[in-house]
Each structure stands twice: as C-alpha cells, then as structure tokens.
C-alpha cells in the first residue's frame, strides 16, 4: 500500500483525495458542480423547447407537466432557459477567472521574484485596479467596448487580476529566498526557467484555491451585471438577465426570477464548497497528518 502511494505520489492530487475524503462536505460541491455542468453541456438534449421560443398563450404559467418550472412573460419555458443560461453563466464565470488568474499570477510572480521598482510599480497599479468596484469596472468596459459576452468576460477578468497578483506574489517572495532557488541561480538557470519550473508549482495550490472561490464570485458578478443590463444582451438567456426580467413581475409570478436565482445560489455554493476543500488541501496545519 505504502509502495503504491509512493510511486504515484503526486503531492497535490494525493492530498486532494485525502482531504476531500475527510471533509466529505466538499464532495457535495463536486457533485453539485457536475450536475450543473452536465445540464449546461446537455442543454440541447434535455431542454424540451427552444430557449427563445415564445408561447404567447402561455404567459406566466406555474410549474406543470408541460412547462416543468413554468414560463415567463413571453411564455418561454423557464427550465429550458435556465439550462441554456447555465452555459453562459458557467462559461463567463470560469473563463473570466481563468483569464484573470493567468494574467494576475504572471504579474504577481514576476513582481515578487524581481522585487524593487518593478514590484512596486506592478503592485501599485494592481491596487488602483482593486480600488475600482466591480460594477463600475463593468460599466466602464461595456461603455467603451459595448455589451457582449466577450466584453463581460474582460470586465470580470480585469477585476479579478489584482487578487491573483497578490495571491501569487506573497508566496513567491518567500520561495525566492529558499536555498534551492539560489542553487538554481548558481547553476546559471534563467529567471524564466526558475519562475516556471521552480516557483510556479509551489504557488499553484494557493492560486487554485483562490480560483475556485473566485469562480463563485464571478458567477455572481455576471448575474449582477446582467441584472443591471450590462451583460449579455437579450434574448440570450442568462441567469442574471432572467432574474432581472422576472423581477419586474415579481408579485404576479415569482418563479420567473426565483428559479434562476436558486441556480445562481447553487453554483456559488458548489464552488465555495470546492474552494474550502481545496484550501484544506494546502493548509499547512493539515500537512503530514
């Protein structure tokens, strides 16, 4: 047994398995996310209608066998729209965070490794970015570039970049003082090689935890930007947009905005559970146990 674990000893994944099994609640997050992702992937197969198809005779219907979760003010099937909206929400959430994660981590690692004036400059710019509220940033980007899914992703990525720059910089500063980095320099390795091969794998854990937690936030930001009309333009279904449309007729037909709201909640919940599990994985207090 110990032989096997030694042979396949991959620090991150071995611990991932171990901690996720100890902290079973994070499995709920994994299962929930899998369900949501399969809904999004299988949208064309499982949805009974076309997401923009209007049934003028069936406005504001409650849940029934014909419309599983009811319909909105144009008689569009809510379940269909939620399933298709999952595609947009999950894509925007993950793509924007991955984009921000890559750019932010590179900047933070570079700043931390080089130090000095470059460090100061990069991190002060990051502080400026961080000081701009997300909605304002969204407003700005959409005003400049126009509303579209891509611009929504850019807007969210921009607000996420400085968080990852900070998260990447801090451990880099401490790792670069270790003797093995000095040994690398003594052997004439380039800075790029040292950063990619020797620093990055050691800070990746922190970055991934932050990433999973921020996907949850990004889904929420997407919803709120769509809610105030800065997101993906209608009639494309997005959760935030659906909440907004339903919100206007909240008293007549609460389902139209509550059901997509529940899905936003579930997604955020799933990513937070996963993030908490991941954080336990890299928590030094749980190491070696």
């Amino acid at each position: 047994m110990s032989n096997v674990s030694t042979r396949f000893w991959n620090p991150l994944f071995a611990r991932l398995w171990f901690v996720f099994n100890r902290n079973r609640i994070s499995w709920i997050g994994v299962v929930l996310l899998l369900i949501l992702v399969s809904l999004a992937v299988l949208a064309p197969v499982i949805s009974p209608y076309n997401p923009v198809e209007q049934h003028v005779m069936d406005q504001f219907r409650g849940p029934s066998a014909k419309y599983w979760l009811g319909t909105d003010e144009y008689g569009r099937d809510l379940f269909t729209r939620i399933v298709w909206g999952a595609r947009i929400s999950l894509t925007v959430g993950t793509v924007s965070v991955i984009l921000g994660m890559i750019i932010g981590s590179i900047l933070g690692m570079y700043a931390g490794y080089k130090g000095g004036v470059r460090d100061e400059f990069i991190m002060r710019v990051m502080d400026v970015f961080m000081s701009i509220p997300t909605l304002l940033m969204g407003l700005f980007v959409v005003a400049v570039l126009g509303p579209s899914t891509m611009n929504l992703i850019i807007a969210i990525a921009l607000t996420v970049v400085p968080r990852f720059a900070r998260i990447a910089r801090a451990p880099t500063v401490s790792i670069k003082e270790r003797d093995y980095i000095e040994a690398c320099r003594a052997m004439g390795f380039s800075d790029l090689r040292i950063m990619l091969v020797h620093v990055l794998p050691n800070i990746l854990g922190d970055i991934m935890v932050m990433g999973s937690l921020w996907v949850a936030t990004a889904v929420r930001i997407e919803a709120s930007l769509s809610f105030i009309g800065l997101g993906v333009p209608p009639p494309t279904p997005t959760w935030g947009g659906m909440v907004r449309e339903g919100f206007e007729k909240m008293l007549d037909s609460p389902g139209a905005s509550i059901y997509p709201g529940i899905f936003i909640l579930l997604t955020v919940f799933a990513f937070n559970l996963i993030g908490d599990g991941l954080r336990d994985v890299i928590d030094p207090r749980l190491r070696e146990s």
Partner: protein
C-alpha cells in the same frame, strides 16, 4: 606560485543599504563585507570563520556572483569574473558551485532527485539522455547514494542523505571550486563526520578546492588547510591552520579559541574573557572594529583601523599589536 592559485579575491566590498524608521526613514549602510582579500590554492580547503553576521556567507555568495559585490576583484585562474556578461558567466558557473547549510531548503520539495540532478546538465546541454544518466549514476556512486534515490522526493530522505544529494548536485559540472556554506552545521554530529570524510574523498577524486564557511572551530581545524577569521565584515587574521591554531595572534582569534570547548574534562583553561556585545555592522566603531571588546586595547586602536601585516609567509593579521 601563481599557477598554484585557483581563486584570488582582492579588496572585496559589499555594503547593503537598509531604511529604518517611519515616517522619516534613515538610510543606513550595513558593511557586510569590507576590503576582504584572500586566495585559494588548488586542492586546498580554505576556511572562513566568524560569528554569525560577520559577512562570511556574503563573501562566499559574492564569489559566485549570487550577490553582486560593490568593489573589488574576483580572479579565477587570473581572470576577473566581475565584469563578465551573462553568457561568459554561464561557462564559469560550471567551475564553481555551492552547497548550503540547510539541506531541507536546498532541494525543491516538488521535484524528484533525478529531475534535480538532470536539470543543470539539460540546461547546459551537456549530453544526450543516456550520457546525462551515466554522469548522474557515476556521481551518485561517488557521494554514496543508490540509484533508487533518483525516483524519490526530498522528503523521503534524512538530513545527511539530503546533504549528499546537494553535494551530488554541486559536483554535476565537475567544478574546480566548491563554496560550502556551513555544510555540516545543521547535521547531527555523527553525520557531520561522515560528510566531512566525503568532502575529503571528493577533494582527492575531483581535484577540488573548497571555501569552507563555518563557525565551528573544531570542524575547521580538522578540515581546512588555511583559515581566515572574520569580524564585522573584515578579515582580522588569516594563515596556515597549524600556525593559526597553535599561535593565534589577533586578540579576537585568541578569544575564539579560548571559548571553544576542548574534549578533555581535566583540561583547565580560562574561559572566554570577551566582554560586551558584537558591535553592529551598521554602526562600526571608530578605529579597530574590535577595540571595544579587546582586552589589549591601546590608544591607537581607538583611532585607526590597523593595516594588514604579514607576520610570516603563512600568517597575517590586522592588529596594532604586531605592527
């Protein structure tokens, strides 16, 4: 004579500036290394001894240009390496390597030993996969590790074994000079002697010279051919091991020797007569840096830093007592 000299360090200086205080920070200068000169001969172990913070590690790191000195010359085979650009320095890196004190932080915890040892050879394009494997196998054998080592991670080894791995990595280019920065002080005493014996064996097999940075006088006395004693960034005395330990001249050297324990319970010896604290390298005293603690302090010691003076061909001292 000169062909016998591998490395010559001339007037090496490294000051660090630190800012202290808020809201009006004051720039302070730490004189980590100040006007240090010495030479290392072929197949020689040269000891650098001193209290912590005296700049001995900075000297070692400057020789490899891991820190850039402010002034001075570092001549390897008579060639000054400080003005060299990156690509020339790259070639020289194969001639000088370093071993660190803490074997727990000198190996990347996420890389297998095989990766750690192969990487420098790959980066310097020193052979095909098979050739690299042959070089590594040979060196593993020389440092007393089995080939299974290669598939393991650092956390699977003890401190002594890790230090052997670090030695193997330092040897991978077959360097001429190894800077050993307190290589045994983090190890158990029983392991220390094993590692020291390994250093000696490798010195013969690989024609190595060592700069051996240490604070343990017993280890230095056993291992080094010549020794330099440092105090607050300067060499106060250097010379042949036997002369230095039998006839220490500088009051600081004497105090150090008197303070180190002797393995004889009946031996009666005056314990250290040193008083006061080590002065800080930020606020070095006027005159001789050692004078506030020196039992033989004279008037001139308070005013002037003593010039370097060779008492004999193989022993020199910076002290007014011998001018």
């Amino acid at each position: 004579m000169s062909s016998d000299i591998l490395l010559r360090v001339e007037g090496l200086r490294k000051f660090f500036t630190v800012k202290r205080g808020f809201p009006n920070p004051v720039k302070l200068t730490v004189k980590a290394v100040d006007d240090v000169s010495f030479e290392v001969r072929r197949r020689e172990s040269f000891g650098l001894v001193g209290e912590s913070g005296c700049g001995k590690s900075t000297v070692g790191r400057s020789v490899l240009r891991l820190v850039e000195p402010d002034a001075g010359q570092i001549l390897l085979h008579g060639q000054d390496i400080l003005p060299l650009d990156r690509s020339h320095m790259q070639d020289l890196r194969q001639k000088m390597q370093i071993i660190f004190q803490d074997p727990y932080s000198s190996l990347n915890p996420r890389r297998k030993i095989g990766q750690t040892l192969a990487e420098p050879l790959r980066v310097h394009r020193m052979g095909t996969g098979g050739e690299i494997r042959a070089i590594i196998d040979r060196i593993l054998d020389d440092v007393g590790l089995s080939p299974e080592t290669l598939d393991k991670f650092p956390h699977e080894f003890s401190g002594g074994q890790r230090q052997r791995i670090a030695i193997a990595r330092a040897l991978i280019f077959r360097p001429e000079l190894i800077i050993a920065d307190e290589p045994v002080s983090a190890l158990d005493v029983s392991i220390q002697s094993q590692i020291l014996l390994l250093f000696e064996k490798l010195q013969a097999e690989y024609d190595l010279s060592y700069i051996f940075v240490a604070h343990d006088l017993a280890v230095v006395r056993y291992f080094c051919h010549r020794v330099a004693i440092m105090y607050l960034g300067r060499i106060v005395e250097q010379g042949d091991r036997n002369r230095l330990f039998e006839e220490p001249r500088h009051p600081y050297t004497r105090a150090l020797l008197a303070a180190s324990p002797i393995p004889d319970p009946r031996a009666r010896r005056r314990m250290a007569q040193l008083e006061g604290e080590v002065a800080s390298a930020i606020n070095t005293p006027e005159g001789c840096y050692f004078h506030p603690r020196c039992p033989e302090c004279r008037e001139i010691c308070r005013r002037e830093y003593p010039p370097w003076h060779w008492i004999a061909a193989d022993q020199g001292v910076a002290c007014h007592l011998y001018v």
